[in-house]
Structures are given as structure tokens and as C-alpha cells.
């Protein structure tokens, strides 16, 4: 069958009333769940999974695809409006999105975020549709050393994006890396820092840490101070709208973010958060206005927004072409397919092209419809922002506790979440950045796993990371990044040193 007739089938499948309806429902569920602090899109997809048993497989995929696309964007709504990322991937959107809201430009920030997300997601869906098999072959040439190098680039980006004080960011990042070592190590089964507590052996989950530091921490901050001083009390909505000229001016940032997102998306394990962080770091360097990043710069919001949504289509490439899910979200999609007795992989293109192309087309359509769903939900959220901070805070605490429990259905995670809430308050009071800590908890276990497996697979030679060309290139980029971020400080130190 030629591409045109396959696409025609895909379009017919996507716009079949039932498939289309569940996709729209999925989009709305995704954006709302993503925007609620505490409930991430992975939570929402896991909760939605039993509903897909009752649907035909095609509808199950358009439904979950809708939640995925909507949810990855939705997290930015709360990040921009109240400085609480709804999902970990929206963390970088706080850095320039929330300052814009503080200036009273929340409408403009949301417009940039939605546009960038939609463009990133759309490009990624087009890549999925027209380039999946060759892109999957490229992805297969990447091995553990390359994944390790990409994770290191992510870790270095965290330092490179530090606003003022790189040393504090360093310290916060390393605290996160230390927290991430808690639990049974991934290869040798040795329990670390578990102090004999069985619950600690399963480790500390990064979503729980993020909910604690940002959502609970923010509410505690609200409780402890005068209303107008905290992020929840200091809300202003409306303000200047984004014109087409504003959106056009960030096209370069969106293009760079999309490219990075598509590349990171196919790497198993990394996903939207790593893509967004690296995109922010690269953008800070590439945009030429790096010193103003963190004060509410358009480019600083557009790049991570486009990158995180650009991972959605790319992450589905290994799932559909190889049957290999790279992320928690695509693992849930795999479960939905397997429940129906469908094995994704190279055979699926031959046995059920209608399903494959319906998924392709529906991902394209979902990204376009996301603009509508995003605007509608963002409007609703802006209304919600008018309710008194105390009431809003109470809701956030409830949602956070539910979200923390929902990650692994584990009561202990709620305790961890509340403890990190207190830590978040303390860090805020001492002006200590908390985002690097969360990113440390996310990236630490990935780096460790990739590092250990790389060594196991290459005769314990550490040189493998620099002898493989792709891994060496990525590590060189990371080094350049670090030098660039540290250069001003280094020169200052040298000048101060006695000659």
C-alpha cells in the first residue's frame, strides 16, 4: 500500500466519531490533570488504563495519545500561573514563565507556551508519521554510553542554567543526586541509606520530591507569610496579550527546542523533563540574551515548552516501530495494546497498518486541537486563580497528597512528600534553588544505571565514553557548556588570587 492510501485510512480512522470523541475527552482530561499540581499525566494515563479495556484498540490509543499530548502541555499552566509545575517536564517553564505572570503578562506567557508546545508536538508527530522507521534505526545505534552522555549533558545544563549563584545550584543538584541514591542500587541489589526501613528500599520517587518541594513548599510558604508576599497570593491575570509578532520572534527558540526534544524523545528513560532542561540550557547560550534568562524572557519559555512536547511523538517511534517503550507514558500505551492482544513492533505495520496510521494522524490532530483545549483550560484556571489563596492552598495540599500517593500507591510516599514540603519552605527562605535538587533526583538514577550497564557491556573500560564518537561528541558539548557557565566565576577567582 502506498503512503497516500495509508494516510487516507489514518485520517478516516482518526475522524471516525468514536475515536475522535475519546481523543478530545483524552485531551481535556490530560490538560486538566497536567495542570492540577500533584496529578501528572502519567498518573492520569494509569488511571485511564482500565477504561481502555472497553474500547477497541484504535480508540484506546487515540484516547491515551490525547491524554499524553494534553498532559505534557497542561503542566505548564500551573507552572506559569502559580510557579508550581503540574508535571516535572514543566519545571523549566517556571523559570521564565512565572516571572512573566508576575509582571501581569500571564496571558502572553500562556499564548507563547501553547504555541511553542503545539509547534513542537506537531513537528514531532510529523516526524513520527513520515520518518519513524529510519529514525528508529538511528535510535538503535545509540547504546548505553550515548544515553549516559546525554544524561550528563542534562546534569551540566542544570548548572549552566543557574540564574545567579552557580555554587548554590551545584550544591542543590548534588543534594538531589544524593537523595537519588537512596534505595536498592540498580545492578548489585545493595540497599543504600535505607536505615533498615523497608519502605526506603524502593527509593525516593522524583515526582514525589517535586510535588513536595514545589506544591507543598509553596503552600507552607503561603501559610507562613503575609498573603501578598507568596506566589499564591501574588497572582495577577490578564495583561498584555501575545501578538503574532511576539510569537514569530521566538521561532528560532521553538525550532531549537523542537530539534532537541525530538532527539531526546527517542532515548529510553530520559523523556520530556530532560528534553526541556537541555533545551533551556542550550537556548540560554544560543539566544544571545542568556544573562536575562530567568527574568521572564520569551525565548526562555518557548524553548523548553517546544522541547517537552516534541518528545511526545518521538517517544512513540520506538514504541510503534520496535515495540520498545522508552518512558512511563509509552509503557502504559504498550499495556493498553497488549491487553487487546496487539503487539506493537515492525510486524504491526504489516498486520494492522490502519491502527498505526490512525495513531500517526491522531497525534498530528491532537497537537492541533491541543491549542483549543489548552486555551479553554487555561481560561478556566485563570478564573480559579481568583479564589482566595487560603482556599486554593487547601486544594493544592489535597491534590498533592493524592498525587504523591498515586505515583506508586504508596503511603510512605506521602510522608516523603510532606517532608520535602518542609525542605522546600526552608530552601525558599534561604533563597536556595530547589529545581536543581529535583533534576538531580531525576537524572541521578538514569546516569548511574547507564554508567554501570555501559561498563558491564564494555569490559569495565571507562574510556568507552570517549572512544565512541557520538558519546564523545555529547560529552564534549557538556564540557563546553560547563566551561561557558563557569568562565566568569573562574576569571574572577583568578583575578582575586594574589599574583
Amino acid at each position: 500500500m502506498d503512503l497516500v492510501s495509508l494516510l487516507t485510512q489514518g485520517i478516516a480512522g482518526t475522524f471516525a466519531p468514536y475515536n475522535f470523541a475519546v481523543m478530545v475527552i483524552g485531551l481535556i482530561v490530560g490538560v486538566v490533570a497536567g495542570a492540577l499540581p500533584g496529578i501528572s499525566f502519567v498518573n492520569a494515563m494509569a488511571m485511564a488504563l482500565p477504561f481502555t479495556y472497553l474500547m477497541p484498540p484504535v480508540a484506546a490509543m487515540t484516547f491515551l495519545g490525547g491524554i499524553y499530548v494534553g498532559g505534557v502541555f497542561g503542566g505548564s499552566i500551573s507552572a506559569i500561573l502559580i510557579n508550581i509545575p503540574g508535571t516535572p517536564a514543566s519545571l523549566p517553564s517556571c523559570w521564565d514563565g512565572y516571572p512573566m505572570s508576575r509582571r501581569g503578562e500571564s496571558g502572553r506567557a500562556l499564548a507563547i507556551a501553547i504555541t511553542a508546545s503545539a509547534v513542537g508536538g506537531l513537528m514531532s508527530a510529523l516526524l513520527l508519521t513520515f520518518g519513524a522507521p529510519p529514525f528508529a534505526r538511528i535510535a538503535l545505534t545509540f547504546d548505553q554510553p550515548e544515553f549516559f552522555a546525554a544524561t550528563i549533558l542534562g546534569i551540566v545544563s542544570v548548572v549552566a542554567i543557574a540564574k545567579e549563584d552557580a555554587w548554590r545550584s551545584f550544591l542543590s543538584l548534588f543534594m538531589g543526586l544524593a537523595v537519588a541514591t537512596v534505595g536498592i542500587d540498580p545492578l548489585y541489589g545493595v540497599a543504600r541509606f535505607s536505615f533498615g526501613v523497608p519502605a526506603l528500599e524502593s527509593g525516593v520517587n522524583f515526582v514525589v520530591v517535586m510535588i513536595g518541594l514545589f506544591a507543598i513548599g509553596e503552600v507552607l510558604d503561603l501559610i507562613c507569610q503575609r498573603q501578598d508576599q507568596s506566589a499564591l497570593g501574588r497572582r495577577r491575570d490578564g495583561g498584555r496579550r501575545a501578538g503574532l509578532a511576539d510569537l514569530w520572534s521566538v521561532k528560532g527558540s521553538i525550532a531549537r527546542g523542537t530539534g532537541i526534544g525530538c532527539m531526546i524523545g527517542v532515548i529510553p528513560g530520559a523523556g520530556a523533563t530532560v528534553g526541556a532542561v537541555i533545551a533551556y540550557g542550550v537556548e540560554k547560550q544560543a539566544s544571545g540574551q542568556g544573562d536575562r534568562f530567568g527574568t521572564g524572557v520569551d525565548a526562555g519559555l518557548a524553548a523548553p515548552e517546544s522541547a517537552k512536547n516534541a518528545t511526545t511523538g518521538a517517544a512513540m517511534i520506538p514504541l510503534l516501530t520496535l515495540g520498545i517503550p522508552g518512558s512511563a507514558a509509552t509503557a502504559i500505551m504498550l499495556a493498553a495494546l497488549l491487553i487487546h492482544g496487539i503487539n506493537p513492533g515492525p510486524l504491526l505495520f504489516a498486520t494492522d497498518p490502519r491502527l498505526v496510521y490512525t495513531v500517526f494522524v491522531s497525534m498530528i490532530v491532537a497537537n492541533l486541537l491541543m491549542i483549543v483545549a489548552g486555551v479553554a483550560v487555561a481560561r478556566g484556571f485563570a478564573q480559579l486563580m481568583r479564589i482566595p489563596p487560603a482556599v486554593l492552598g487547601a486544594f493544592i495540599v489535597v491534590l498533592s497528597v493524592i498525587g504523591a500517593f498515586g505515583v506508586r500507591n504508596n503511603i510512605f510516599d506521602i510522608h516523603v512528600c510532606l517532608a520535602f514540603g518542609v525542605a522546600g519552605l526552608v530552601m525558599k527562605r534561604f533563597d536556595f534553588p530547589s529545581a536543581p535538587l529535583v533534576l538531580g533526583v531525576i537524572l541521578g538514577p538514569l546516569a548511574e544505571r547507564y554508567f554501570l550497564t555501559s561498563l558491564a557491556n564494555h569490559d569495565d573500560r571507562v574510556s568507552v565514553f570517549v572512544t565512541r564518537p557520538i558519546s564523545a561528541t555529547i560529552l564534549a558539548m557538556a564540557l563546553a557548556f560547563l566551561a561557558w557557565a563557569m568562565w566568569p566565576r573562574m576569571t574572577r577567582l583568578w583575578r582575586r588570587a594574589p599574583a
Binding site: 494509569a46 541489589g189 527509593g203 502504559i332 504498550l334 491487553i339
Partner: protein, 331 residues
């Protein structure tokens, strides 16, 4: 579905209140309460999309009409499945919590990763069982198992085998081969996705896996099988030799999956659950599922299943005594 199950739980909550009140009056009303009268929680001890998760979801979906209550599945992953089993043991042993218990968790107990032991559990259903096999990428230079082993003998440690971790059945099998003079290198990939991609991408030479998990790669011509670690040949891989034909004694490490409740669960409730899951195992839907995944197994009574788990536990322990230098490991 959700609405109806909520309705069931509201109705059954009332029934439960009634039962508790009656219990206070009569003393032993618990035993007479109709079981099950409220939803039964099914704990999948691994993440969504994995073999244990899918088994839990299929079983719960098919058992719902038989038991007449909802069986919601929740994933409690971590520590080789022992985190979810700990949850099962800390919930009250009233039959309203069921968990997946698989061979990997049992070998983790044997490695002292957890203090759990077979006697802590009652097995209500032996659902799946499969021997493991060694697969290579289709373009591998090793035509058959003999060529593979000869290469291993001539180049000790040069061949890389992707496994699920140290201290697992995978690891024991590779150490067994090493003791026979065929030394390979164990490369653990904790995530199944990465494990399957490694041989297809040419990053390792082979993969140790149960056939159901990689069948699609075999059908798509990306992998081929070298050997089945079992006494007999695999029914779906008739031309692939078994390990016994090669003179190896390594047929006692199959990968089984079960559903379990705490050992303290009342016998009459175990009976109800076992009978219901028994019906599921006989259903055409389940038969198709287990055939598709090459995991169909003989039905066992709870006693037989328990004996099976115990025997496996002791087998792994004895291998660990034989191979004292084995890394502890987990996945």
C-alpha cells in the same frame, strides 16, 4: 464501569457495616459473611506494561464477572516485586487483597533481598509458566548454540548476554555455562525496553529471555532462538534444541507467575478465590492470551502451587551455595 464499581463499594460498605454490627452481637459473623462482597484489590508487583502487570490485568478483567465484584489493579513496583508483596502482607489477610507473585521475587528472597519466604503466602492461582531461552540477533555470526558455545570457549568473556540483572535466574544460568567452560559476560539491563533493544541494535551478542516476551521480535525476523533451557524442546520452536539434549542440567529455573494472598487468609476465602481464578484459567479468552505469550501451564491446587514455589526457592538457594562468588544483585 467506574460508576458501577463505586456503587458496588457503597452498597458493600453498608453491607460491611451491617456485618460488623452483627459480628459484635454474634461473635463469629465474619465467617458467615458472603465473600466477596466488596472490591478486591489486585496488586501488580511490577510497573505497567510488564508481564506481571498484564497478567494481573487480564486475570482481574476476566474474574470480575465470576466473582461479581470489581478487581481494580494497582501497581506497587520496586525491589524485585517484594515492595508490592510487603504491601500485601501488611494489609489485613481477609482475601480482599491479592498480589502477583513471580519467580523473580522468589529468587530475590533466596538472595536475602527480603525477609519474605514461601510460607508467608498462599498461592490462589498458578497462572503462567515458561522456560527461558537464549536468543541472538538474526544477523549474528553464530548459526546455532554449538557455534555460540564454541566461540565462548575460545574467547572467554567476549560474548555479551543481556539479562534482567545479577542474582537472577538469568545470572545463575550464565554462571552455570561458565562452570562448563563457556564464559560469557552478563550485561544487566533493568528496563525490559533497553534489554530488548540491545541485541537488535547490535550492542550485545545475545539475550536471555522467556520466549513470550520477545516472540514478536522473532516473528519480525530480528532475533532467532539458539537454545531452550528445559528438558523438552519448546512447542513453538521445534527446531531449537533443549539444554538437556546438550547434556546440561539447568532445566529447573523456569519463569512462573502466580496470584497470592497472605498465608493467614481464611481457608474458605482462599477456596472462593482459587475456584474463581480456576474458571478464568479455563476460559477461552485466557487460553488465547497464554497461547499468544507461550505461557500456558497446568492448573495447580493451592497446595501444589505452594510446593512448587517452595521447591523453586530451595533450588535457587542451592545454586547460590554452589556458586558462592555470584554477585547478589536484583532488578
Amino acid at each position: 464501569m467506574a460508576v458501577s464499581s463505586r456503587l458496588v463499594s457503597v452498597v458493600s460498605a453498608k453491607a460491611l457495616v451491617g456485618a460488623v454490627c452483627a459480628g459484635l452481637a454474634a461473635g463469629s459473623a465474619m465467617a458467615q459473611e458472603k465473600f466477596p462482597s466488596r472490591p478486591i484489590q489486585v496488586i501488580a508487583t511490577f510497573g505497567a506494561g510488564g508481564g506481571a502487570d498484564l497478567m494481573a490485568r487480564q486475570m482481574s478483567r476476566l474474574a470480575e464477572p465470576i466473582l461479581g465484584v470489581a478487581l481494580p489493579v494497582s501497581n506497587v513496583a520496586g525491589a524485585s516485586g517484594t515492595a508490592g508483596l510487603t504491601r500485601l502482607l501488611t494489609n489485613s489477610p481477609d482475601g480482599y487483597t491479592v498480589a502477583t507473585l513471580i519467580a523473580l521475587s522468589v529468587s530475590a528472597w533466596a538472595s536475602n533481598i527480603s525477609t519474605q519466604k514461601p510460607d508467608d503466602f498462599t498461592i490462589v492461582a498458578m497462572t503462567q509458566d515458561s522456560p527461558s531461552m537464549l536468543f541472538v540477533p538474526t544477523n549474528s555470526p553464530h548459526k546455532d548454540i554449538k557455534a555460540f558455545l564454541e566461540h565462548a570457549k575460545a574467547n572467554p568473556g567476549k560474548l555479551k548476554v543481556a539479562t534482567s540483572g545479577y542474582g537472577t535466574q538469568d545470572d545463575i544460568t550464565l554462571i552455570y555455562l561458565e562452570k562448563l567452560g563457556y564464559k560469557t559476560t552478563n550485561v544487566p539491563f533493568a528496563r525490559p525496553a533497553e534489554r530488548y533493544a540491545a541485541p537488535i541494535g547490535g550492542h550485545v551478542d545475545a539475550i536471555y529471555e522467556e520466549p513470550g516476551d520477545v516472540a514478536q521480535f522473532v516473528k519480525a525476523g530480528q532475533m532467532r532462538a539458539l537454545v531452550t533451557f528445559n528438558d523438552e524442546r519448546h512447542f513453538a520452536f521445534r527446531d531449537v534444541p533443549s539444554s538437556k539434549e546438550l547434556g546440561m542440567q539447568i532445566s529447573d529455573l523456569p519463569n512462573f507467575r502466580t496470584l497470592a494472598v497472605p498465608a493467614a487468609t481464611p481457608a474458605d476465602r482462599v477456596k472462593v478465590l482459587a475456584a474463581a481464578f480456576d474458571k478464568v484459567l479455563d476460559s477461552p479468552e485466557w487460553k488465547k492470551y497464554c497461547e499468544d505469550t507461550y505461557t500456558c501451564t497446568q492448573k495447580l491446587t493451592p497446595e501444589q502451587a505452594k510446593a512448587r514455589v517452595k521447591a523453586f526457592y530451595e533450588t535457587v538457594q542451592s545454586y547460590q551455595k554452589r556458586f558462592p562468588d555470584m554477585k547478589k544483585g536484583t532488578n
